[in-house]
Amino acid sequence: MFLIDYIKDIYGAVKSMAIGMKRTAYYFTHHKEIITQQYPDNRAELVLPERFRGEVVMSHTDTNEHRCTGCTACELACPNGTIKIITKFDVSPEGKKKKAIDKFIYHLELCTMCNLCIEACPTNAIQMAQNFEHSVYDRAQLTKVLNRPGSMLEEGVE
């Protein structure tokens, strides 16, 4: 019947409005729910979500060893040419030539933090760091070499 539908309509509208207003009233009175981070003030104790992706870094051990074999899987996986790997040939004491990375070049200014390089890496050489304060005065500073000078490939990583 028309009138019953009409009244049901109004009842439903009022009910759903009341639910919405109850929610906002809850937030209004419960200030502990506030999610604002007072960023520059709380820099010291700032906690970022685990999944936050800031920049690509290469982890090094205490003995200045990394895990990158120079396979260029990350370079191929990168959708916008952020990574450039320059390889060289190390000569071992036995006179054997071995491929190693000379420079792992990472263009932060091109990176979209898509995480594809990290997923592509077969040896877990690179990770995503949580650092997000990237501003510099010269864009050349955003082109980074990720492997530290004089670093070697970790023993046992092929």
Partner: protein, 358 residues
């Protein structure tokens, strides 16, 4: 006893004593005008910061918290910024109408202040057709919006103004009918008499369910009339940039902004006067002690307290509900609010004739 009306009376007596009657009257008018402007400026500052804080807490944010104690001076800083900005008039605009529109918005808001009773026996002008005056003058505000939208020579402004016209004209009806229910119950159009009739209880409680329905309809209709969310189609930041005040900048924009908040204050003050007893303290039946304690609270505090409660409710609406589409907006008015309020006023008339209200 100390009260606002006593101060007003003594100033009035003193002015008539030292000045000839005509000069005294003019002086009083100037004083009242200055007070009204001061009240507007203060209200603008308070309501803007209140709105921003309420919005922030409802959206689980902190809101402004840097300028002054907990950001309480933020709206003052914003005003100073707006004062220093250049007021640009677009090249294709109708210059006179463009510059006149914000002042009409302000003047309309100012005129509405006249019949309000701010405290016991404190009115600017307690005319005997107060309610009619309010409904008549409040519909003038649409002219300023249409003027602003038309003269801006901008498609967004014009669209916003047209929507606003459709909206205000339709919602005026149900707001008027909701106001009429109280007029029917009281039998008077005078604001002071309406307040006086609520000495033994507010109309919201005395008028049974029809009064409650009328109150709800009144709140919805005035939210639409003041162009506030969820009925802010005329401004609609996300689709019309800012609607009728897209082209305004600097102090002219500030006047529109201020007029919106002043209008909210005034409609809430009218709602408080009609349904919540204006400056009347809260009395519950025969609780002598309770009623006596309530009488000690100054009447102006009761008035402003009720008004700010209603303003909070309207802000609560704004930060809870999404914006309506224009067809939904008109549906709500013509298919729901108007028939309900018409039926409601019949019920109220029956109650008033039979004397069933308390």
């Amino acid at each position: 006893m100390w009260s606002l009306s006593n101060i007003a009376k003594s100033i009035d007596a003193w002015l008539y004593e030292v000045l000839p009657p005509t000069v005294a009257l003019i002086t009083e008018m100037v004083i009242v005008g200055l007070l009204a402007i001061t009240l507007f400026a203060l209200l603008g500052l308070i309501l803007v910061i209140m709105e921003r804080k309420v919005a922030a807490y409802m959206q689980i944010r902190l809101g402004p918290n840097r300028v002054g104690y907990k950001g309480m001076l933020q709206s003052l800083a914003d005003t100073v910024k707006l004062l220093m900005k250049e007021g640009i008039t677009p090249a294709g605009a109708d210059k006179m109408m463009f510059n006149l529109a914000p002042f009409i918005a302000m003047i309309t808001a100012m005129l509405l202040l006249a019949p309000l009773g701010f405290a016991r026996d404190l009115h600017i002008w307690d005319l005997n057709i107060g309610v009619l005056y309010v409904t008549a003058v409040s519909s003038l505000s649409v002219i300023s919006i249409l003027m602003a939208g038309w003269s801006s020579n901008n498609k967004y402004s014009l669209l916003g103004a047209m929507r606003s016209g459709a909206q205000i004209v339709s919602y005026e009806l149900s707001a008027g009918l909701a106001i009429l229910t109280v007029v029917v119950l009281t039998g008077s159009l005078q604001m002071s008499e309406i307040v006086q009739s609520q000495a033994n209880g507010w109309w919201l409680f005395k008028g049974h369910i029809p009064a409650v329905i009328a109150f709800v309809i009144f709140i919805i209709a005035v939210t639409a009339e003041t162009n506030r969310a969820p009925f802010d189609l005329a401004e609609a930041e996300s689709e019309l940039t800012a609607g009728f005040h897209t082209e305004y900048s600097g102090m002219k924009f500030a006047l529109f902004f201020l007029a919106e908040y002043i209008n909210v204050f005034i409609v809430c003050a009218i709602g408080a006067t009609l349904f919540l007893g204006g400056w009347m303290p809260l009395h519950i039946g025969n609780w002598k002690g309770f009623n006596h304690v309530m009488d000690y609270v100054p009447s102006s505090i009761w008035f402003f307290g009720k008004t700010f409660f209603l303003i909070f409710v309207i802000m609560w609406f704004r930060w809870t509900f999404p914006r309506l589409r224009i067809d939904q907006l008109l549906n709500l008015e013509w298919k729901y609010l108007l028939p309900i309020s018409m039926f409601n006023i019949l019920l109220v008339t029956l109650i008033a004739i039979k004397g069933w209200h308390f």
